[in-house]
Structure formats: structure tokens, C-alpha cells
Amino acid sequence: MSALKRENPRTKVFNRRAALLLGGQLGLFGVLAARMYYLQVIESEKYKVLAEENRINLRLIAPPRGRVLDRYGEVLALNELNYRVVVTPEQTGSVVQTLDVISNILSLTDGERRRIMREVARKRRFLPITIRDNLSWEEVARIAVNAQDLPGVAIDSGSSRFYPYGPDLAHLVGYVAPPSESDLTGDPLLELPDFRIGRTGIERNYDLALRGRAGNSQIEVNAAGRPIRELARLEGEPGHDVALTIDLHVQRMVARRLAQEESAAAVLMDIHTGEVLALASSPSYDTNQFSKGIPVALWNSLRTDHRKPLNNKAIDGQFAPGSTFKMITAIAALEAGVISPEQRVACRGWVELGDARFHCWKRGGHGHVDLNESIKYSCDVFFYEIARRTGIDKIAEVARRFGLGQTVGIDMPGEKAGLIPTRAWKRATIGQPWAQGETLVAGIGQGYITATPLQLAVMTARLANGGHAVIPRLTLDQINERTVTERPQQVKWPSCGVSPQILSLIQRGMRDVVNDPRGTAFKARITEPDWAMAGKTGTAQVRRITEEERRNGLRKPEQVPWRERDHALFVAYAPVDEPRYAVAVVVEHGGGGSTVAAPIARDILTEMRRRERERGDGTTRVAERPRDRPL
């Protein structure tokens, strides 16, 4: 009976269908296994990559920017800690919403929001974007409290550039600023929110060395983007410190001395090594305002100021050198053999050439003067005459040998070349033949001729060092792109090709300018023993004085509008017997070279002497610099 029951149709159907179901289930499990095989074996590599992309976040570690030091290790530019709030677009659902929330805390302006959204569009999504810099502690605390409503927002401590002596070294050290789009070279470092690129001066010239190399850190993150642990770290390279040849104390003194004038520039350099000890331009500005983001109004006022505070006039101001150029004319004449040292020229206050009359600065003239006297008194007529005899092309050739008419190659951006005219130059650029009158004017450093204060300092250095073509420089070390190596101690400069006899004639003239009671700069002489200076005054007209004006009598400087006043120039070196330093001072529209510029040069050289004493009586040379500067 039980057997009969087992054989009933229901049981048969049940067993058959149960077997069918089991088969179906096994088949479906087989499908699952096949799917797993596909995902985990065949496609595994693809998914492994995706999983790694999920979890690994590559973060750049910004290297600290190198410092800028003076020759004795005084810090001229360093990094200061500041707090900022950043947002990482890939970690926040909507940047716009996040900014809305943060606006309640920081009250962002429309301009700020536009800048942030521009950066969001421009940068890679995993890179944080600065919302605001230089937060106060209170703001930091308020953002931290609201952290859970601000996904992808973080407080970051970064560094900003600080210049302890701001305006005193503004043009020299320069400043840093956020990279503009044209700066983006693909170096991801440039896209970091706190990254600053050197914009001017040393900061710009040695930007690569100062910048260092970015390190990176592979961070494992979870789904919320929260870092879990560091997987690997590639240490970056901190930026190199750049040690300048500048002596901070002298530099500050120079900057302050120039700041007393409306607009001026000065360069002080070692005539043997080319090391620049001070280089300043006035008026100046505070570079710290650039690293923190300069207010627009201040920027505009700096930009439109007619005294051009943003320009480094020591290297980009091109002035007629005036009488400071006379040494070049004299050398050219002596080399050309058109005059002997003893030969005299009669000066009656003017000389005529064709219809034109060329005046000496001294009404009534100097009488019969020889070379030495003509330099001493700065007699214009003498130089008109020897220039006429020498010819412009020879004068230009000598000028170029002394560094004029071309950039001298200082390691700083923005240097101008000045202008030394030749016949060929005039034909090519103006399209007219050279007029002889122009040679006369050129002989006293006027007309087309222009030079920068730096060029004048170099010219003076080459006159003082025995005719060696010294090239000025600003760094103690040899810096090439990113590598910093020690500079070879002894540099052999090529010769300017001037005979010692000629040079000593010129040097004697320059000595007498300052030290002879009848010299134009006698009042500005240095009385300190062993530190007498030699020099040459220059007063460059910025506009032509008409015959009518001459007849009516020249106006006093105070009566002339500032822009029409003469430039005051003075070049000098010291000590006179065993020269070491050359200085060039230009006071724009300052008036007379002897009364305005020469005292400044004197003060600079005197300060240099004081510094030498302070640091060990005249032995201050390159070797004294401590080798193991702290990083």
C-alpha cells in the first residue's frame, strides 16, 4: 500500500519537478559563478586599477621657498605661517552650495566668489582651492565649528612671504605673487593654492632655485575623501637659500638716503669682484603688500605715480649721463691721438659750429684748459672740441668697452641697455645722416646718449680697477636654474683695452674733481684719511635751453617745474689710491650733480668705510662670508 502511494501520480510529478527545480537552481548558481569568473578573473585588472584610483589620493607637498639673505646671512625674505580656508571640489557635492554656507561665516564678496569659481574651472578637481587667506583665529574657529556642514572644506596652514625690510630692498629682492595662467607650465606645484611665483627682482631671477621641488604623498582615502594613512611619500626638495652680495646695512642706509629725494637711484659695487653691495631705487614701496594680495587702490596709485615707484631705476632708468660721460670722451680722444695730455683748448663760454652755438655750463668760460683741468672743472667746450676731433664712432666704441650701450648682464630681470649712438645707428633708426653737432653734444654725455645708474657704476668700476671688464652680480653663489654651486674665488675679467697711461690720466682728473679745491665736487670730498674718493659730477639737461632763455638769465632750480629740472649725477670710487668700491648716483630732476648727487655718493662710500671698520678694518671680502649658513 505504501508502495502504491509512492507510485501515485502526484509523487511522480513532485519528484520530477523537484529534480527539475534543483537542476534549475544549480544552473543559476552556475550563472553566478560564471559572472564571478568574468568579474574577478577576466576583468580583474581593470577593476584593480579602478579600486586603486578610488582609494589613492596623490597630494603634493609644497617645498618651503628658499630665503633670500644678504652677504652676511641677514634674512631679507622668509616664509611666515598663515591660516587659510580651502575647498577641494571633488570632495564637495556642490562648490556653489558650500560657498553659500561659508558666506555666512566669512561674507565672501562677489569678486571673491568669481575668482574661486574661475579656479574651480581651471584646476584639477583634487586640488584644494583657497577661499580666503590670512584668516584670523576667530574665523578659523568658526569654520572648524561648522565643519560638518562644509564637506571638502579644510583649514590649512600655509606660508606667506615676508620681507622684514620691505621698501629698503623692494626693487632688489622683488616680490612673489600667485602664478597667472601664462605661468602655468605644467609643474603641478604651480597649481597649489599657496604657491607663489617670483614676480620681480631676485625672487623672479632665481625663482627656480628658490622654489625647490614638490614632494608628494600617496594618501589612502576612504569614500568620504578622508585620509586614512600615508602609503608612500616622496620628499620634495626645499628651495635653496639665495645669498646676495648685498650688505644689508649699507643697502638700508642707501635706500634711506635716496628716499630723501623725489626720485633717485644708486648702485654701489666692488670694482674687482663685481659684487653689488647696494642697489636702490627711490621712491620705493612695501613688497609685503604684494605677498598678501595688494589692494587695488594701492596698486593703481603705485602704477600711475609719475615718479614710477614700481620701476627699479638703478637698472631700468635710462638717463643722459651728462658730464659723467666725459671720461669716455677723453679716453677716445687720447686713443685716437687727437689730443695730448698737455694740449690746451681755449674756452670762452661757447663754441660755434655752423650756425649753432654750443655753450659751456660756465658763462664766460674756463679760459685755456688742459685735459686734467677740463675734467676737474668739467669744461664743456674742451670736450666739444675733442669730441669733434675724435668722431662719434670712436667715442661709441670706447663707451661700449666700458659697458655702456648694452646690458651689462647683472643677474636681475628688467635691465635696460641705454643708448650709445653711432652714425650707422642714426641712419638705421632715424633715417638721417649724422650731424657733427650731435658729436659735440655726445661728447658731454647729452643728446642721444643714455645710460642706467648700473652702467655708470660699471663704467666707473672699470675706470678704477685698471681697465678690467668687471660684470656686476648680486649673488655670492653660482646659480644655474635649480643648482647652486660655489663661485670660483678668483675671476679674471677681460681687459677693456685701455693703456695704463691713459687710465692714470683719467683717474688723476677724477681725483682732482673731488680733492682739488677748484674741483666741481670739492665740497663733497671725504676728509677721512685713506678713504678719499675720486669722482665725476654730471648735470644732465632734460630739455634744450633756448638762446632767449640764456639771454634772460637762467632760472633758479626752484623756479623750474620738477619734470623740467636737470638730472643730478655723480660717479665715484674709493679709496682713491687703492680703489675698491665704485658708486653711481642719479637723482632724477635733482638739479646739480655736485650739490645733490655728490654728497649722496660721499655718504654711501663713507658708510661703506664704517661697515668695513665694523666688520674688521678693511678686510671684508668675499671670503669672510660664513660657509655654513643655516638653511
Binding site: 527545480l21 534543483l22 579602478l50
Partner: protein
């Protein structure tokens, strides 16, 4: 008339029944559950808190409940099938009326101490009540359509309530085993063809009744990459986790996708993903093999039973078990849309674990009472 053995089995003492329990199946369930414990331990980053510890406790309680269910006389379950079903249906209605709102779906009944999910009860109750109904029919009666009206009502009433909650997963888990019970009971194949064809025709209409998020899940299933940060995120991350596990896996507690929270719901619906990420293709196959073993075991028990009731109950439950496992794994592998169905015995979750073990208690019960005879018209009829 019945064999003396079957009578004696029916009159066995509790101790005697315990010796008859299929301990091999119990051990197998323990192994599968242990896979779950270790996975939950890993999911918590190497801690019994908050999941693995509680899951072990629940499993222990569940095993006791399972054995209790197993030793109750099978005929008692037969007798109370309608009562059980009635209570479950009432609770479902109660959820509909007074259920607390959670996750946009009314599924829970807060009984103070525990949260009861009536749909879980109904899954067992429906299998019992259908088994009892079909047990009472002859093969010829099953062949007549009007005998099918009542079981269809019994099935669709709770399915409709559950679907309305809305809990599509549970509705499927009610209808699918019920359909299998119809199939095993001997309902003619052409009727299935008609119903399936009808369902296919009704699909566009039924689509209108789906909630937006349910439609979205289907869309996302069809093309997860269209919405990588939205609803497609789960599937994409799950596939990345599985695939990156490779053949041998990333190692226990080394799954980057799971440990770093890229994988959502890793302790519940996506636990198979986590397990396979860490244990690889090989580990996943082992787990699937364990499920197959459980199912083969269960079906063997069903075939061994002498009563139609026992056979249908055991097969119904094993079919549920299979559907759970298949839908869950198919979902995490991106073969099926995301429906909230846990991996049986492994996923974290109290109610699911309890109802599953109670259901296995019934399967073991069928084994213990494999030779008990239940008459076609109930217990009185012993012929």
C-alpha cells in the same frame, strides 16, 4: 493501517526526536553562518562590535528556536497553518495601519522590545498554508482551475499588502516560493505559461504602480554608469570591489573597497561583495558551494518525506532560501537590479536570521517526522 514505525515516530519523546534531528544540516548552517561572522568581524574593521557579536548571539538563540520548531509534531504545524497565516495577515494589516515609518517604507511593527517584520512571518506562514491546502487535494482536483482560486487569493493578499508598503523584495519572496509550491503540487504547466504570458503583458501596467525610487533602481540596473554618483554608485562600487579581489582576494580585512567605505551596506546587502573582495573568486565559489550543499540537503529531506505537506513545506522553504541567495548575489554582481534582499545566514540582520532559522526548523521537522502520515482530509483521516 500505517506502518508501526511511522506511528512510533509520531509518538516519539522530545529526546528521541532530538536524536533524529539532521545534525549534518545544522552543522552546515553553522558553517555558513560562521562565514557571516568572520565577514562581519572584518566589516567592522576587526571588531565584534557592532555586528559580529550580536549576529552570533542571534544565531545562538535562533538555533535553539530552530530545534524547538523541529521537535514540535509536524501535525501541529499542519493544524495551525491557517491560524498562523491569519495572524501574519492581521499583523501585515496592522503595519499598514499603525506601522512606524522608516526608510520611506512601512515595514516594521514596534512591539516595544522587538521590532517585528510581519512580512518575514508571512513568508513562512504562506508556505505552510499552501502546503496544507495542496496536501488536501487529489491530483485530479489540482488539475481543475477553480481549486486554484483559493491558493491564489492566499498568495496575492499578503503579496499585495507587502508590495504596497512598498517592499518589492519581500513581495517577490512571497510570490516566487508560492509559485514553486503550485508547480511542485502538480498544477499543470500550461497554466504557468498562461500566467507568465499574462504577467508579461501586464508588466507595462504594473510599471505605473512602482514608486519612483523603484523605477530608478531598474533604470540604474540597466545602465549603472549613467549615474555614477547617484543610484548607480552601489553597483559600480560593488563590481569594482568584486573585480579587484581577483582570484585569491586581497586578504582577510584587507579589502580596500570595503574597509574604506567605498562599498555601501557592506554588512548587509553587499556582504557577499566584501567577502569576495577579501577572499577572491575562490572564496566566493566556496560560499556558493556551501549554499548548494544546503539546498541539496534540503531537497533530499523533502524527497524523503512521506507526506505531501512535509514535502511541500521543505521544498517551499528551500526554494525561498535559494531565491534569497540567488537574488542577493546576482544583485551585487550587477546581474539583477538592486532590491533589498539580504544574503541568507550571512548578512547582518536579526529578523531575517530568526525567520530563516525557524524555517530551517520546519525543514528539520519534516526530516524528523519524515515517516509521519497525514491524511488527505486532515489528521482524523488516517487512511
Amino acid at each position: 493501517m500505517a506502518s508501526s514505525l511511522s506511528v512510533r515516530r509520531g509518538e516519539m519523546s522530545i529526546l528521541q526526536k532530538l536524536t533524529q534531528v539532521n545534525w549534518g544540516l545544522v552543522l552546515l548552517l553553522g558553517i555558513v553562518a560562521s562565514v557571516g561572522f568572520t565577514a562581519l568581524y572584518s566589516a567592522a574593521g576587526g571588531s565584534f562590535e557592532p555586528w559580529a557579536g550580536r549576529q552570533i548571539t542571534r544565531f545562538a538563540i535562533g538555533i535553539v528556536l530552530m530545534l524547538a520548531v523541529a521537535v514540535v509534531d509536524l501535525r501541529l504545524w499542519y493544524r495551525i497553518a491557517y491560524l498562523f497565516y491569519g495572524i501574519a495577515l492581521l499583523l501585515l494589516v496592522a503595519v499598514e495601519v499603525a506601522g512606524s515609518i522608516g526608510m520611506g517604507a512601512q515595514r516594521w511593527l514596534d512591539l516595544g522590545l522587538i521590532q517585528l517584520q510581519p512580512s518575514e512571518l508571512m513568508k513562512v506562514a504562506l508556505i505552510l498554508v499552501l502546503a496544507r491546502y495542496f496536501h488536501g487535494l487529489t491530483y485530479e482536483q489540482i488539475g481543475r482551475p477553480h481549486y486554484l482560486i483559493w491558493p491564489v487569493v492566499l498568495t496575492l493578499a499578503p503579496a499585495a499588502l507587502v508590495a504596497k508598503q512598498p517592499d518589492l523584495g519581500s513581495a517577490i519572496m512571497l510570490v516566487a516560493p508560492a509559485g514553486v509550491t503550485f508547480f511542485l503540487a502538480g498544477v499543470r504547466l500550461w497554466k504557468f505559461v498562461v500566467v507568465i504570458a499574462g504577467a508579461a503583458a501586464a508588466l507595462p501596467i504594473g510599471w505605473q504602480f512602482l514608486r519612483e525610487y523603484q523605477k530608478q533602481r531598474v533604470y540604474t540596473f540597466l545602465n549603472p554608469e549613467t549615474d555614477p554618483l547617484g543610484t548607480g554608485y552601489h553597483i559600480i562600487q560593488s563590481k569594482i570591489a568584486l573585480g579587484s579581489g581577483g582570484i585569491w582576494g586581497k586578504g582577510y580585512m584587507q579589502g580596500t573597497q570595503s574597509q574604506l567605505q567605498f562599498l555601501p551596506e557592506k554588512q548587509t546587502d553587499f556582504i557577499f561583495t566584501m567577502f569576495s573582495e577579501e577572499m577572491g573568486f575562490v572564496g566566493g565559489l566556496v560560499l556558493i558551494a556551501l549554499y548548494i550543499l544546503v539546498i541539496v540537503y534540503g531537497i533530499a529531506i523533502a524527497l524523503r518525506s512521506r507526506s505531501d505537506f512535509g514535502r511541500l513545506v521543505a521544498m517551499g522553504i528551500m526554494t525561498s532560501f535559494f531565491i534569497y541567495a540567488f537574488i542577493n548575489m546576482g544583485m551585487v554582481m550587477g546581474l539583477l537590479p538592486v532590491v533589498g534582499i539580504p544574503l541568507p545566514l550571512v548578512s547582518y540582520g536579526g529578523t531575517a536570521m530568526m525567520s530563516l532559522l525557524i524555517a530551517f526548523g520546519l525543514v528539520i521537522n519534516v526530516y524528523v517526522h519524515r515517516d509521519v502520515h497525514i491524511g488527505r482530509r486532515g489528521l482524523a483521516d488516517d487512511g
